[in-house]
């Protein structure tokens, strides 16, 4: 349910918007398969991200998989770099590289580490240490302003990540610099490694915090691709950066770990993998 405090424009009625049900299901399958690889993976925070990334790559951003560094592209920075397998899976589905590349995940000497590697087409920055993406995004947004381009920069952050002070340092700079081409997205799944964010280091009232820093705030259901599309496609508000707080479920799609702290990282055995894929298949049919 949307609790947006700013009226969202209706951008979802056009016929060009792709149905994302099949794409998000395939992304989740890739994530499960990677988590069944030799190293396992950050399953919970990758599953919560799926609709956010799919909406950005399939409905919102201007990107060309054939020219991943095109100067006209919209930019995505996965500041919560531990969602790396979610990004790899999405880039694969978006056509940046073939599915065979994903089989390299976690292999000794392979390029696909848990955190994004810029050797992969479409990966902008090597994130993973939390609290870096927003400052990087400021750099992209300043460059875009100097270029007098209307290109947008999206920075996807985790909610636990917002406990890093550098996020708020950058949030203040972005608002002061009036970077209205900068859009932050918070994957608000409410969990971090040791418990709920409200138990460990409370973030609420999260929307008010961002508003107090000078940001326009949208709050949406982070698994509703239409709500995400509206918020992420909204026309910039002149002089203010935008944050989309996307309320999500950690481990979404896998009932055995959904909304559980243990979903943070998992190495799935073969039986667990088959159970997970069966759960996804059931979800796909429903």
């Amino acid at each position: 349910m949307s609790s947006s405090t700013v009226a969202l424009p209706d951008t979802t009625s056009g016929p060009e918007l792709a149905d994302l049900g099949e794409v998000t299901a395939r992304i989740r399958e890739h994530v499960v398969n990677m988590c069944a690889g030799p190293e396992g993976g950050h399953v919970g925070g990758s599953m919560s991200l799926v609709e956010i990334l799919a909406t950005l790559y399939f409905r919102v951003m201007l990107v060309d998989p054939q020219f991943p560094a095109s100067p006209d592209r919209d930019v995505l920075l996965l500041s919560k770099g531990h969602g790396g397998i979610g990004l790899y899976a999405t880039l694969c589905e978006a056509g940046f590289f073939p599915a065979s590349v994903l089989a390299d995940y976690g292999m000794q000497g392979g390029a696909l580490m848990a955190h994004p590697n810029t050797e992969l087409p479409g990966v902008e920055m090597p994130t993973g240490s939390l609290g870096h993406g927003l400052a990087l995004g400021i750099g992209y947004a300043l460059a875009t302003r100097l270029d007098e381009s209307d290109r947008r920069t999206f920075v996807v952050m985790g909610d636990g990540e917002l406990q890093e002070g550098s996020v708020w340092e950058a949030a203040s700079v972005a608002a002061s610099q009036k970077l209205d081409n900068l859009i932050a997205v918070v994957d608000r799944n409410g969990l971090q490694i040791t418990g709920g964010t409200h138990e460990v280091n409370d973030l609420e009232p999260l929307g008010d915090r961002w508003r107090a820093f000078g940001w326009r705030v949208f709050e949406v259901d982070g698994h509703d691709v239409d709500q995400l599309t509206d918020a992420l496609s909204a026309q910039p508000e002149e002089g203010r950066p935008t944050v989309v707080i996307a309320r999500t479920v950690k481990g979404k799609g896998l009932p055995m770990v959904e909304n559980q702290t243990r979903s943070h990282y998992a190495k799935l055995g073969d039986r667990q993998r088959r159970l997970a894929l069966a759960a996804l298949e059931k979800g796909r049919r429903s």
């Binding site: 992209y140 300043l142 340092e169 950058a170």
Partner: protein, 313 residues
């Protein structure tokens, strides 16, 4: 009486170069952190490429990385103490890991912040920055070498750490042209090598060589302004000749220039390396840059004494 020409500090030389070049090169952008270094500078039509982001050093480095990734040539400045400690994770991951052409002007290096105290001293920055892959580390020793080295560094494809001072320091004696990546040979002798890094250390090394000459000891004096990549060839050639090297620097003895020299030379030849620098403690007293260096034994007399002691074996 003729009017004295004002000697500029290395940070003022840097400021003037940025002020000169920014309007001419559309790729350049200057990010500042409320330092006041650029107060009064008129960038004219290029004013949109000078951005004062406030007191936000992590954001400074991250934003510079984003700009560089997009083809811009960022020149960023903060105090060395903040560049090499508070912001170092962004320098490491966002700038060095991506091998991006960001020029980090780190002012108030060493103990040049003087009585501002240990919170504003940077005595670990060479150790930190030279450890980072892709980083070039430059320590200009006077106004002229700053001017030369900053301009030479413009074309480097990767990140650069420019270790700058706070106040003007005396000019170095005349020597061969300063070339990035090459030690400048200020004096050649057969008995001992003195390799120095930074303004007062190089001046002290030159003076020490004169003191030693009066006592019949001939010293080679190397002005080493590029700490990374280190000019191992020139250092090894001198060390091979004299057998003993004394390094002098405005940095903790741990991990800095002297350590870099020792690491490089001991892999190549049998050599004794004595490292003069600041001892392994915080400088917890008030004092000017030269006072604090004198107190720590970074002086011509101390260098000469160490040379004589070493040669006596």
């Amino acid at each position: 009486m003729t009017a004295a020409v004002k000697v500029l500090s290395s940070r003022e030389v840097y400021r003037d170069i940025v002020a000169e070049l920014l309007p001419r090169d559309e790729r350049m952008i200057c990010l500042d952190t409320d330092t006041g270094l650029f107060s009064g500078v008129d960038f004219g039509a290029a004013a949109d490429r000078y951005v004062n982001i406030g007191i936000a050093e992590h954001t400074l480095m991250g934003a510079a990385a984003g700009l560089a990734k997009e083809g811009r040539l960022p020149f960023v400045n903060t105090m060395a103490a903040f560049a090499c400690s508070r912001a170092v994770e962004a320098v490491k991951i966002d700038i060095a890991y991506n091998n991006l052409p960001v020029r980090i002007a780190a002012t108030h290096s060493g103990v040049s912040a003087g009585h501002l105290g240990p919170t504003h001293h940077a005595l670990e920055d060479l150790a930190v920055m030279r450890t980072l892959p892709n980083m070039t580390v430059i320590v200009p020793a006077d106004a002229a070498t700053t001017d030369s080295l900053v301009r030479q560094a413009l074309a480097l494809p990767g990140p650069v750490y420019l270790r700058l001072g706070r106040n003007a320091t005396p000019d170095l004696p005349a020597g061969p042209p300063v070339k990035l990546g090459q030690a400048q040979v200020l004096r050649q002798g057969t008995d001992i090598t003195i390799a120095a890094c930074g303004s007062y250390p190089v001046l002290a090394a030159v003076e020490a060589a004169e003191l030693l000459e009066a006592q019949g000891i001939e010293a080679t004096v190397l002005h080493v302004h590029t700490v990374k990549p280190l000019d191992t060839a020139t250092l090894a050639a001198a060390a091979g000749f004299t057998g003993t090297v004394i390094t002098v620097e405005e940095h903790w003895r741990t991990g800095g220039f002297g350590a870099a020299v020792a690491e490089a030379l001991t892999e190549l030849l049998p050599v004794r390396v004595h490292r003069l620098g600041l001892p392994d403690r915080f400088v917890g007293v008030s004092g000017s840059q030269s006072y604090l260096l004198g107190r720590a034994g970074v002086t011509a007399a101390a260098i000469a004494e160490r040379a004589k002691t070493s040669l006596r074996g």
